[in-house]
């Protein structure tokens, strides 16, 4: 087996196991920290695909900002936020069955795609992916409109947060 494949499997296992623990952890802080592990696994996946910029941005934005926000949100509640009751409902087999059916459907759809075993086109030599991304973001023929609209989206998020905070204060 190619070493890349081994690392991919380890990474995928890390992500899946961390995601599982996020959901079944009884302690909210532990759940948030398992989320950090899952996000780090995604960053490793990006690195495996040679997407340097995306790997580093994943750590900076997701782990450095969003995970910290999650942790702050969890700490806003009482400290002892342990789940005390039983973790499974009595009719737990219904959602489990539904989940398995959805998984089977998704797997079938993915493998039924005609291009599933095509390899991605190699990046042409001499093209720096990061610069190409930059040029695409600001070229009028490229993605400049989504670029500017995303800043308005961020502005909307900021205004929304301020509004919620003000109404809570008053």
């Amino acid at each position: 087996m190619h070493p890349d494949q081994i690392i991919f499997f380890l990474c995928a296992a890390l992500i899946l196991i961390s995601a599982l623990f996020v959901v079944i952890s009884r302690n909210l802080i532990h759940a948030a920290l398992w989320l950090v592990a899952a996000l780090f696994g995604v960053a490793v996946l990006f690195a495996l695909l040679n997407a340097n910029f995306l790997a580093v941005v994943q750590v900076v934005v997701y782990i450095g900002a969003i995970a910290i926000l999650f942790l702050f949100a969890v700490m806003l509640t009482r400290k002892d936020i342990r789940d005390r009751g039983p973790q499974m409902r009595r009719s737990w087999w219904i959602p489990a069955l539904l989940g398995l059916l959805i998984l089977a459907g998704l797997v079938y759809l993915i493998f039924a795609q005609p291009g599933i075993d095509r390899t991605a086109a190699a990046i042409p030599a001499g093209v720096d992916p990061l610069r190409a991304l930059g040029k695409a973001l600001v070229s009028p023929g490229g993605y400049v409109l989504p670029f500017e609209v995303s800043s308005i989206l961020l502005l909307a998020a900021l205004v929304g947060a301020v509004y919620v905070a003000i109404t809570k204060k008053s």
């Binding site: 690195a47 700490m75 947060a161 301020v162």
Partner: protein, 118 residues
């Protein structure tokens, strides 16, 4: 996978092992005599009063949120910065428009008093 990420991955592993070695060594070498008074949490030398949980001020959350918005903005600016050499001045103005919209957001937050620490 390029060799550079292999190097960084190995660096991370060594970086995790290097602090653990002295800690394990210390755990083996140091005395281990727990008693309830030693293990009680510290509160300036007196008995702890009340829960060890402090009301988390909502202000911390607001600052973290504003930080998140600006963090995403600066991350968008990195590819823009690298493309400046190869594009006309229009690209610079687009980037400044992007920054300007978010500075407007900062000014709005400022004027609404969300950046105060009350």
């Amino acid at each position: 996978m390029q060799n550079e990420w292999l190097y960084i991955g190995l660096f991370l592993i060594i970086g995790i092992i290097v602090p653990i070695v002295p800690l394990v060594f210390a755990a083996l070498v140091s005395p281990h005599k727990p008693n309830p008074i030693k293990q009680s949490t510290y509160e300036c030398g007196i008995e702890t009063v009340g829960d060890s949980w402090v009301q988390f001020k909502a202000q911390y959350y607001i600052f973290a949120l504003v930080f998140l918005v600006f963090d995403v903005e600066t991350v968008f600016l990195f590819p823009w910065a690298l493309s400046l050499n190869q594009l006309p001045i229009f690209a610079v103005l687009e980037g400044i428009l992007f920054i300007g919209i978010l500075v407007t957001g900062l000014v709005y937050t400022w004027r609404k008093g969300m950046l105060e620490w009350v």
